[in-house]
Structures are given as structure tokens and as C-alpha cells.
């Protein structure tokens, strides 16, 4: 997980407002000019100007005439965020602010308003330049918070396209339940190279959206990333860590059953994350679905099965009710994963469970504990995951395979 550097107090901000796309572009230019002029007024030394311009004589000449305009303008991507609810917009703004240092970018936050009201566009622009690190390197990030109302809110792609930075990757982050399959969704996705969603925000049990996402992943364009999947990394790490033990590695082909306990604070059991985890196991261990999930008689669980070609591997997704501090976790969070292994002479049990402040992984061999690992739990905040997604643009083949396998578990 990348570390996010704390905001440095040495920061400067410029703000503007605009009511049309053309005005947004001209205001951004104006902001950059203002920033550049300030860089000169700040007393840029002749040496610094010469370094920046590459020619000491020209720098000297321009400095004398007061014409030096220099401010580093490094941007690495355009981030488009669709925040369909005001609270999502607030959340997204907070995340975007933490990204500025690591990914100096243009962030366009789209907040669609009432589609039946008058057609309006209200954009709030800001640029923040911050000095960081020992060398006080300056990074600048632009943010455009765009409220679109009326008919315009149905054509957001048309607003976004002129504002994309040429040739740089475009990441579309849809923090809420994304309306996969709708025209609006399709048009916005066509503008981007990478789509970032969160399976944990998928509505209802998450299954319909997961299936739609699997189709999008299979299409291959754009690359899809999932915050929910990234939250599973520590779970995967803990389970994989147990099987680093040479005795347990050898037992991997003997897995008989997998049980995943899923937090269910309300009446609906959201299984999209658990499906992702199960899909990952199946793809890593080369299992194929023998029986899609269906309600398990006499319980609230869902049950299904894979086959490794010779043996059956049973799967159970079991709802558990929140206890203690657990309600703080989102519905559908994993609480415990338990694997039963061993055929014949011995029996092995490998388990990862959520503890109040860490994940605990243990393995037992005929009832005696042979491995125990403690790892930090998945982080609650969203920003580190978004940062990680931006760090690793492109396809995540492991995720894509996991989604493909997960979708096959869904009852037809």
C-alpha cells in the first residue's frame, strides 16, 4: 500500500469559477499565468532561472527585462470522478486532495444535479501548489468541481472530453453504485483508459452489478480496477503467507472446503466481495465451478462447489451478524475465511479472521497449531486504495481472472 505524504504547510492555492467549458479552459490558463508570475515575484534566482531555461545568457536577459515565467507544470493523468450524491462529492474531494502530492493531476469531479431542472453548469476551479520533501520540490494539482443540472447532466461525457489533458491517461472513478450498461455510463467509460469502481458499493446483494462488471472486464477496454478487490489484498496476503510454509504448500491440492463468513448488518447479504475472494482462490488453484451458489437448506448460507478435476471443493458463504465494533465495517466485509485440507491420513485447517485491530492467520495440523501470522487489517479509508490504483495503471490480470471465476459462481 503506498504511503501518502502528509500535506506540507508550504502550499499556495488559486481559485476561480466558470459557467461554461470555454470559460473553464480560459480560467485554467489564467490560473497558470498567475502562478507563473508569482514564481518570478517570489524572487527566483538567476541560477534557478538559468537552470529552468537551460541557457544562462537568455535567462539573464529575460530576468533583467522581467519576463521570466517559470513554474513546473507536471501532470501525470486526468482523474474523472462521478459523484452522484452530495455526500459522495464531499468524500471524493477529500480523497482527491490527498492524491495531489503523489499524482499531480487534473481532477474533474462531476456532480450531476436534477435532470429535470434547468440546464446549468457551475464549475469551481482550484489549483494547489505544494512544496514537499527535503528538496522542497513543488507539485501542482488542478481540481474542477463541476455541478451540471438539467439536460446537461445526461451528457457529462461532452463536458469532460474537452477538459482531458492531451495524451495522458484518463482514469474514471465511480465511487458509488455505477449504472453499468446505461448510455450515460457507456459514454463516460468511452472517454477513459481505466475504470475504478468499488464492488462493496454495488447495490442490493451486488450480484447483478458483479455479473455486468465481469462482462466489462471480459471486453478488455478500459482496464477495470476495484477498490473492494484491493481491500482483499491483506486477506489474500495472510492466507498466502500461511501457505509459504513448505508443509502447507504441499497440502494446497488437498483443499476440501472453503467457508467465508460475511458481515450482514441488514437483511440483504451482499456477497460481491466474498465472491471476488472465492473467485481468486478458484483461479489461483485452477478450479472450475461444479455447482453455482444456491441457498443451503436449513440455513441462511449460500452453498456451491468447484472441482479440481478429481475432487470436489465445497464453498459456503455464511452471513454473520455484527458484534461489538463490527458495525463500523461495511456490509459484505469478510469476517473469516476457513479452509479444510487433507485427504486420508491427516487433517489441516487454515483460517484467516478479522480481529479488532489486525488479521490473524493460523493453521492447524491434526488439531495442533503449526503456523500463526499476524498482519495489519485492510485499511478503512478510501484514499490509499485510489492512490494504489493510480500507481498501477493497466490491467490487473489476477483480478480479472478472479472476477471471471466469481461470475461463474453466480446462480443462473
Amino acid at each position: 500500500m503506498p504511503e501518502i505524504l502528509p500535506a506540507d504547510p508550504v502550499a499556495r492555492q488559486w481559485n476561480a469559477r466558470a459557467t461554461s467549458v470555454a470559460e473553464i479552459e480560459s480560467q485554467l490558463s489564467r490560473i497558470w499565468s498567475a502562478a507563473a508570475e508569482e514564481a518570478t515575484e517570489d524572487g527566483m534566482s538567476a541560477d534557478a532561472a538559468a537552470d529552468a531555461l537551460g541557457d544562462p545568457r537568455v535567462a539573464g536577459h529575460l530576468l533583467a527585462s522581467g519576463h521570466v515565467r517559470v513554474r513546473a507544470r507536471t501532470r501525470v493523468l486526468t482523474l474523472v470522478v462521478v459523484a452522484s450524491r452530495p455526500e459522495t462529492a464531499e468524500r471524493a474531494v477529500a480523497v482527491v486532495e490527498t492524491l495531489a502530492g503523489r499524482h499531480p493531476s487534473r481532477a474533474i469531479l462531476l456532480a450531476p444535479g436534477d435532470p429535470d431542472g434547468p440546464s446549468t453548469l457551475d464549475a469551481r476551479l482550484s489549483m494547489t501548489c505544494t512544496l514537499r520533501g527535503d528538496n522542497l520540490t513543488e507539485t501542482c494539482a488542478e481540481r474542477i468541481l463541476l455541478h451540471a443540472g438539467g439536460e446537461l447532466s445526461r451528457h457529462l461525457a461532452g463536458v469532460v472530453t474537452p477538459l482531458l489533458i492531451h495524451d495522458l491517461p484518463v482514469v474514471l472513478w465511480w465511487p458509488d453504485d455505477p449504472p453499468i450498461g446505461t448510455r450515460q455510463f457507456r459514454e463516460l467509460v468511452e472517454t477513459c483508459d481505466e475504470l475504478l469502481v468499488d464492488t462493496a458499493s454495488f447495490r442490493d446483494d451486488g450480484v447483478a452489478r458483479l455479473t455486468a462488471m465481469a462482462a466489462a472486464v471480459a471486453a478488455g477496454v478500459p482496464a477495470v480496477r476495484d477498490v473492494g478487490w484491493m481491500r482483499l489484498e491483506m486477506w489474500r496476503e495472510q492466507l498466502a503467507g500461511l501457505f509459504d510454509h513448505p508443509l502447507l504448500t504441499a497440502e494446497l491440492p488437498t483443499i476440501r472446503s472453503v467457508r467465508i463468513d460475511v458481515l450482514r448488518p441488514a437483511h440483504i447479504l451482499r456477497i460481491s466481495k466474498a465472491l471476488g475472494f472465492a473467485g481468486w482462490l478458484a483461479s489461483a488453484l485452477d478450479w472450475e465451478v461444479a455447482q453455482p451458489l444456491e441457498p443451503k437448506p436449513g440455513s441462511e448460507s449460500l452453498a456451491g462447489a468447484w472441482t479440481d478435476g478429481r475432487h470436489e471443493v465445497r464453498l459456503e458463504l455464511r452471513p454473520v451478524n455484527p458484534q461489538g465494533a463490527a458495525p463500523l465495517r461495511a456490509a459484505g466485509s469478510l469476517q473469516r475465511v476457513e479452509l479444510e485440507l487433507g485427504r486420508g491420513r491427516h487433517s489441516v485447517r487454515a483460517r484467516v479472521s478479522r480481529q479488532p485491530d489486525h488479521l490473524l492467520a493460523t493453521a492447524e495440523w491434526d488439531g495442533a497449531e503449526i503456523a500463526r501470522r499476524v498482519g495489519r487489517r485492510d485499511r478503512f479509508e478510501e484514499a490509499p486504495y485510489v492512490t494504489e490504483a493510480l500507481d498501477r495503471l493497466g490491467h490487473d490480470r489476477i483480478f480479472e481472472e478472479a472476477v471471471r471465476h466469481a461470475a461463474r459462481l453466480v446462480p443462473r
Binding site: M1, P2, E3, L5, D51, A52, L53, G54, D55, P56, R57, V58, A72, T74, V76, G101, R102, P104, R132, G133, D134, N135, T137, E138, T139, E233, R236, E237, L239, A240, G241, F243, D244, H245, P246, L247, T249, A250, L252, L281, A284, L285, D357, H358, L360, W365, D366, A368, E369, I370, A371, R372, R373, V374, G375, R376, D396, R397, I398, F399
Partner: protein
């Protein structure tokens, strides 16, 4: 996480890996662990490259390197989950002290030198695996006791017989430590044991003969694949980026040759003097301290052919070919012409008046040790024939800077003859430190009615594109040793090839000194860019040093 909770977590983390009725770390267990993809669940994980549990034995455990670099690096690897929880650290040194005292000592070291503030929970986790073993480097019995201790640790911590021996000791002790490790059987690998690797710090000898002897001493006990000669420069992010830059981009390789490149400059400049290391520097000088290792490594990375794979021996084979292609036929005339020896006198550096080298602590008042070297090298192969490589390295120069600059040839025809400014040739500069980054200089038209052309810089600075928390070189390198990846370490034949370039120069200088032919030293003032002769070296070819 509260401290109390953290401690309980650390206790929980203590592994018990001995299953009922099984040997702790041998046989099938150890051999299974060495399988390349033994654990399919690891594939694709961010921590895919997690080393196997092991015991790191640090010789010279009470020394500066252990405190400033090695242990803070191990702590940070643990912090990000790259050091398995079973890992143990055993300090070996002459001083007598308890495990707890050693733990307290290392905690202080991490608190002082770690690049991020120490977190007690993580430190407790590391400290649970820290031990101290008192012993004299020359006492074979001490190694027997060490061996017994390591076997106990294998059982109690689950380190599976994997051992990393880190020699953070003065170079003179290396042969006896290696020899005694061998006598105690600590070099052995395979057949039910884990791996055994040894890390040796530079200097790797002081000339070709001593390097050859050192390599022979090491080879009597360890196979070359077990030996990791560490040069922390190679662990720096930008040095590694040099490989990505050259071989991960398609646009540079076609012009990376004698047809387009006019010459190459490499500068390693330090603003500091010898800073309390007078005695060491008197023996080494700039040629042994920097030129033979750091600079020649940079030359080989810049000039090498694309390796057939990004694997240790493929990389090192290509680097070695460059070193062997460097013209090492150093006649006296050529040394007098192409190599400049300098030593700083008193002067002003960074706004302070500073003494000359001969006035520094532990330096002889008539010392002829060089604090500056500039030289012109030729790489005699098809790619680089007739392209001079100018190298300069020095102390008490105006600023700290390490930079490689590739100067391209001028355009064949100057179309813009009426322009008042004279555009410079294109330049590609790779800055290693500070402000790691890459700069490309090209010509552009000055806005206006005239046709004035000026050079502008397109400057990629790591800091402003990735405000990330880059690992320390020692973290990268220690992780690589534990993973068995020797790509960034120097092989014995590379070391000897580099010495065969530098040793004839040192020998000629020594002969001149003994026969009253030494140059007049000091020959540059502290805070300047070295002797005038260094400028002449480049200017006589119609070029000049890049202004840094």
C-alpha cells in the same frame, strides 16, 4: 494500535512451526520451499517477492554501518511486510552484552536513523527476533558457538536454516571471518539445509592484486553465487531507473551510439571534505573510493548492450564486457595527458572558510593523496569507438551532484545562421542526486518577429512526478540478497576488471611521487570545480564540462 495491544500482537506473532512428528527445517520442507512457484496463492500479490524466513548475522554489530543503515533498513522492510515475521537478526561482535542491551541499542539506532518515525508495535515485533552473540572474529570456537545458536534459532523462530552473513566490518577482517565461517561449516547449503549467503562491503581490495587475493580467499569458502558485493550506489532508485530508461523506452536506444552521441560526461561531486575520515581517505583517495567502483559502474550501465534478460548474470555479463572494452593501456604519456590528479587547498565552500586537505585531521601535511580525479576514457567497441567518456570526481567541489550527461552531436547544418544566440547541441542529463530526474535540452524559437533560437530544458523531476516515499538503497539491496537476486551486486570478475583500469594509474602516480615527479599539490581551492587542467582535458577536444 496501542502499545499494550501491539505487544500482545508481537507475542501472538511468535511462530511455532514444528508440526507433530516432523523435522523442523530440513528434508522435504526445505527443498519444497525452494521451488520457484511453490505457492500459487502468492502470484499477483503486491508482496509477491517476500523472502523466505532467515537469520541475518551481522558481523560488526556494534559498528556505525549496522546502526545507521542495516538495522533501520531491516526495520523498514518489516514495516512494509517484506521481512517475514520469523526473521531473526543476530549481532556478532567482540563486546560483551546481553540480548536485551543489544535490542535497546538497536532501538535507539532505528529511532535515530530510520527514514520514517519508529512505531513501537513494529519494533517490538522485530526486537523479538534480535539476539546478540559475543565473539572474536579470529576465534574459531566463537563460530562454533554461533553455529549452535543459529540452530537453536532455526527451531525457535522457524528460520529454516537460511542464513545471511553481513560483514559490516573493516576490510582487513574479511578473510578471517570468511575462513572461520567455512571452518564452522556455516557456508554449507542444500541437503536438508537452507541457503547461506555472504554480503561483503566495499572496498573490494585496494588494487588489482589485493582484489584478486580477496576474491580467492572468499572463493575458498563460498561459491560466487553465494557472494553479494554491495555497492549502495547501485541500490539507488535513479541508478535502477537508468536501466528502465534505457531498455524500457524505444526512442533512446537507436540514438545511443557513436553515430549520434558526441561524448558522455559523468560527474560525482561532493561539497564535503573528508569529514573525519582522514585516515581512511589517505589510504584510498578519490580513485579507489569512488572511481573504481561507483563511477565505473555508472559507465558500464550507460554503455552496456541490452542484456538478453533482466537477470543477474545476464546484466553482469554485459557490464563486464564494457569494462573489458575500456582501453586500459595506460602508458605514462597517456596518464599525463588524459588523467588529472587534484587535491584541494584551503578555500570557501558553502559560505564557510574551510581548510585544505593537508590541514584535515589524520592527513599527512605533505600528502599526495588525490581528492579529485578527472579522466578521459575510451570504450573500444562498435557502439562507442571514438566517443570520449569524460569522468570527474572530487571532494570540496562547489556542490553535491551526481550526473550523467549524454551530449549529442550538433545538427549537421545550421539553418538559422542569422540568429544572435548560438544554440547548443542536444543534451540528455540523468541526475542521480540530488533532485533525481532526467533532463532533455533542445532548441526552441524565442517568441517574436525574429528568428532567435534558444535552448530550453524539458525536465522530469522524480520529486514532482512521484512524491513517493522511495526506499533507501540498503532496503532494496538487503531485500535482493534475501531473495537471491544478485543483479545489483558486483561479481568478482567485474571487480577485477575495474581494478585493472584504475591500478595502472595509481601505480604510475606512486612511481612519480617516489621519483619527485608528483604534480604540485594542492592544485585547486576548496569550493571550485577542480584544477584548471581538468578543464583543459575537455577543452582541448573542443568541448566543455557541463555547468552543474
Amino acid at each position: 494500535m496501542t502499545v499494550a495491544r501491539a505487544r500482545s500482537t508481537a507475542r501472538l506473532a511468535a511462530p511455532r512451526v514444528v508440526p507433530p512428528g516432523r523435522a523442523p527445517a530440513g528434508g522435504r520442507a526445505a527443498s519444497a520451499a525452494r521451488g520457484a512457484h511453490a505457492n500459487p496463492l502468492r502470484t499477483g500479490l503486491r508482496l509477491e517477492r517476500v523472502p523466505e524466513p532467515n537469520t541475518i548475522v551481522v558481523f560488526g554489530a556494534t559498528g556505525d554501518l549496522t546502526h545507521r543503515k542495516i538495522v533501520p533498513a531491516l526495520y523498514n522492510l518489516r514495516r512494509v511486510g517484506l521481512l517475514p515475521p520469523e526473521t531473526a537478526i543476530v549481532g556478532f561482535a567482540r563486546r560483551s552484552q546481553t540480548d536485551d542491551a543489544f535490542r535497546g541499542d538497536l532501538r535507539e539506532a532505528v529511532a535515530t536513523h530510520s527514514r520514517v518515525p519508529i512505531q513501537d508495535a513494529i519494533w517490538q515485533d522485530v526486537a523479538a527476533g534480535v539476539f546478540y552473540q559475543q565473539g572474536d572474529f579470529g576465534d574459531p570456537a566463537a563460530y562454533t558457538r554461533l553455529s549452535e545458536r543459529l540452530e537453536e534459532i532455526d527451531v525457535s523462530r522457524g528460520t529454516r536454516g537460511n542464513r545471511l552473513f553481513y560483514l559490516a566490518t573493516p576490510p582487513s577482517t574479511t578473510p578471517e571471518i570468511i575462513e572461520n565461517l567455512g571452518k564452522a561449516g556455516l557456508d554449507a547449503e542444500g541437503r536438508g539445509r537452507g541457503w547461506a549467503r555472504v554480503v561483503v562491503e566495499k572496498p573490494f581490495g585496494s588494487d588489482l592484486a589485493s582484489a584478486h587475493q580477496l576474491n580467492r580467499d572468499i572463493a575458498r569458502v563460498f561459491r560466487e553465487s553465494q557472494v553479494y558485493r554491495i555497492d549502495h550506489y547501485l541500490g539507488k532508485e535513479t541508478v535502477r531507473n537508468l536501466l528502465v530508461f534505457r531498455f524500457g523506452n524505444g526512442i533512446f536506444e537507436p540514438i545511443w551510439n557513436r553515430r549520434y552521441v558526441d561524448h558522455v560526461q559523468i560527474t560525482v561531486s561532493e561539497a564535503l571534505g573528508v569529514a573525519g575520515r582522514g585516515a581512511f581517505y589517505e589510504e584510498a583517495g578519490a580513485s579507489r573510493d569512488i572511481l573504481q567502483n561507483h563511477m565505473l559502474q555508472l559507465v558500464s550501465l550507460v554503455a552496456m548492450e541490452p542484456p538478453i534478460a533482466f537477470a543477474a548474470d545476464d546484466l553482469r555479463n554485459e557490464k563486464l564486457r564494457v569494462l573489458r572494452a575500456i582501453d586500459s593501456d595506460w602508458t605514462e604519456e597517456r596518464i599525463a595527458r588524459d588523467v588529472v590528479r587534484g587535491q584541494y587547498g584551503p578555500g570557501w565552500s558553502g559560505g564557510e572558510e574551510v581548510p585544505g586537505y593537508r590541514e584535515e585531521h589524520e592527513v599527512a601535511p605533505d600528502s599526495t593523496t588525490e581528492t579529485f580525479v578527472a579522466l578521459k576514457l575510451e570504450i573500444q567497441n562498435w557502439r562507442w569507438a571514438d566517443v570520449p567518456f569524460y569522468l570527474r570526481v572530487g571532494k570540496r567541489l562547489p556542490k553535491q551532484a551526481t550526473e550523467i550527461s549524454i551530449q549529442f552531436k550538433r545538427p549537421p547544418l545550421m539553418l538559422f545562421r542569422d540568429t544572435q544566440s548560438d544554440p547548443e547541441a542536444n543534451l540528455l542529463a540523468l541526475r542521480i542526486q540530488p533532485d533525481e530526474g532526467i533532463l532533455l535540452r533542445f532548441s526552441a524559437k524565442v517568441p517574436g518577429l525574429g528568428l532567435d533560437v534558444r535552448s530550453v530544458n524539458m525536465d522530469f523531476t522524480y520529486g514532482s512526478s512521484f512524491a513517493s516515499d522511495a526506499p533507501e538503497a540498503y532496503e532494496t539491496l538487503l531485500l535482493d540478497v534475501m531473495l537471491g537476486d544478485a543483479s545489483l551486486f558486483t561479481r568478482s570478475d567485474e571487480v577485477e576488471a575495474a581494478w585493472s583500469i584504475v591500478t595502472p594509474i595509481n601505480q604510475t602516480w606512486a612511481w612519480w611521487d617516489a621519483h619527485g615527479q608528483a604534480p604540485e599539490l594542492p592544485n585547486y581551492a576548496a569550493g571550485t570545480w577542480g584544477p584548471d587542467k581538468a578543464d583543459h582535458l575537455v577543452e582541448r577536444d573542443g568541448r566543455r564540462w557541463r555547468r552543474l
